[in-house]
């Protein structure tokens, strides 16, 4: 997990996303315990209230649940929940900004598709794009 203190995103949201990433990657499996809030705050030197806030975001979404006296566990079905949420925001978070940048650079949608399919860089087609 990485926390970027220079990011514009609040630390607690970054933490929630980092935990989600680990669940998606299978590092934190469903119905298993994750590291404690204390361990997170000490390791990343973040205020325990901030760390708690990040974890609580995931508790509210049903991704994590608290077992009294034991700690924080990954809910069953958590991975599916995160996948759905992330898929729903994929367009706004990734595609939209991709299209905006492409428009600035006069890269056509067709060229973007070519890049995605072919995985290579495109030739200079600035003449074509500026028409």
């Amino acid at each position: 997990m990485l926390i970027d203190f220079n990011s514009e995103k609040p630390i607690y949201l970054q933490l929630a996303e980092a935990i989600e990433d680990n669940i998606l990657k299978g590092i934190f499996e469903e119905e298993t315990q994750i590291v404690s809030t204390t361990e997170i705050s000490v390791k990343y030197r973040i205020n325990p209230a901030t760390a708690g806030k990040g974890v609580n975001v995931l508790v509210d979404e049903g991704v994590l649940y608290k077992k009294r006296g034991l700690g924080m566990f990954v809910s069953s079905g958590a991975k599916k929940k995160i996948l759905e949420k992330r898929r729903n925001s994929f367009y706004e978070e990734y595609v939209q900004s991709l299209l905006e940048e492409a428009a600035k650079l006069s890269i056509s949608k067709e060229d973007i598709v070519k890049m995605i399919v072919g995985g290579n860089r495109i030739e200079d087609n600035s003449n074509k794009g500026s028409k």
């Binding site: 514009e8 630390i11 607690y12 809030t37 705050s41 990343y44 030197r45 205020n47 325990p48 209230a49």
Partner: protein, 286 residues
């Protein structure tokens, strides 16, 4: 649960007003950063909270009781002062033993454990400690005191980067183990910005802001670009700091960004960046 109320406190030294009618409510079990430039009144405030000096007017109340000559209340506050107030010729271990006499909650085993981690030699005399180790020695006493309120005045003075990192981690571990009210007065703002929950900023003896760091930072940002465009952008906005570099200008805006601002920024081709606590602090106290 110990809450600290600073009520209309002023402190005058001769012709200088070190503190001017300061009102602050400090909630229990939070970590606060006390930030201010040199001479802003940080140490005066900490000294007043611990009854080392007396206010010219106003009062400090802890858990409903005045701190003035109140041993019961004062026995529950540990103050790590920036100046060394310990006998120079005494050995570190003996001072820890005495601390236990004054603060029965002091945890000697934990203090020894921390001393080993930081490489502090308990047999050394106070006068032979380097600046860094003098800070470590006092910080350990504060962490091990186990009082409900712990005040730190420049706790990492003279510490190298590794030891500073260790100190903050130990402080968080200590707080997590047993939540308490901690106030850290420091110049190294960026370092504590993730550690503290709330920032208390004082300037020339006056409280200018007390807010959660997260709220403070989400309510401020830096905008930069070509000077005339930035000027156009910041018109009518609460701007707290400006830097100019040739035809390039960057301004710290003390407001949250809304959608209209984003559209305007796009139009004017100016860019947004995160405002760091240190930057906001400098702009607010300049």
């Amino acid at each position: 649960m110990k809450t600290i109320q600073i009520k209309g406190v002023s402190k005058v030294y001769g012709h200088t007003k070190a503190l001017d009618k300061v009102d602050i409510d400090i909630e229990s079990n939070r970590i606060y950063g006390l930030l201010g430039r040199n001479g802003a009144g940080k140490t005066t405030l900490l000294n007043l909270m611990t009854n080392r000096i007396f206010p010219t007017e106003g009062e400090v109340i802890i858990d409903g009781e005045r701190v003035y000559e109140n041993d019961k209340v004062l026995g529950n506050i540990f103050y790590m002062a920036e100046k060394n107030l310990y006998p120079e010729d005494e050995r570190v271990r003996n001072i820890y033993k005495w601390t236990k006499e004054f603060y029965p909650s002091f945890d000697m085993v934990y203090a020894e454990d921390l001393s080993e981690k930081f490489g502090l030699d308990l047999k050394k005399k106070v006068k032979s400690l380097s600046t860094g180790y003098a800070s470590i020695f006092k910080a350990i006493a504060a962490l091990a005191s186990n009082t409900d309120i712990v005040l730190f005045d420049e706790p990492v003075l003279g510490l190298d980067a590794n030891h500073r990192d260790m100190f903050y981690k130990e402080l968080i571990a200590n707080y997590s183990e047993r939540p308490k009210t901690m106030i850290i007065s420091t110049h190294l703002i960026e370092e504590v910005s993730s550690v503290i929950e709330e920032a208390i900023i004082i300037k020339e003896g006056k409280l200018i802001l007390k807010q959660s760091v997260e709220e403070l930072l989400s309510g401020a940002y830096v905008v930069s670009g070509e000077t005339s465009r930035v000027d156009k952008y910041i018109q009518g906005k609460k701007c707290i700091g400006i830097e100019v570099l040739g035809s390039f200008k960057s301004a710290t805006v003390f407001e949250a960004v809304n959608n209209k601002d984003k559209v305007l920024a796009e139009e004017l081709q100016v860019e947004f960046a995160k405002a760091e606590l240190q930057k906001v602090f400098i702009d607010l106290t300049n």
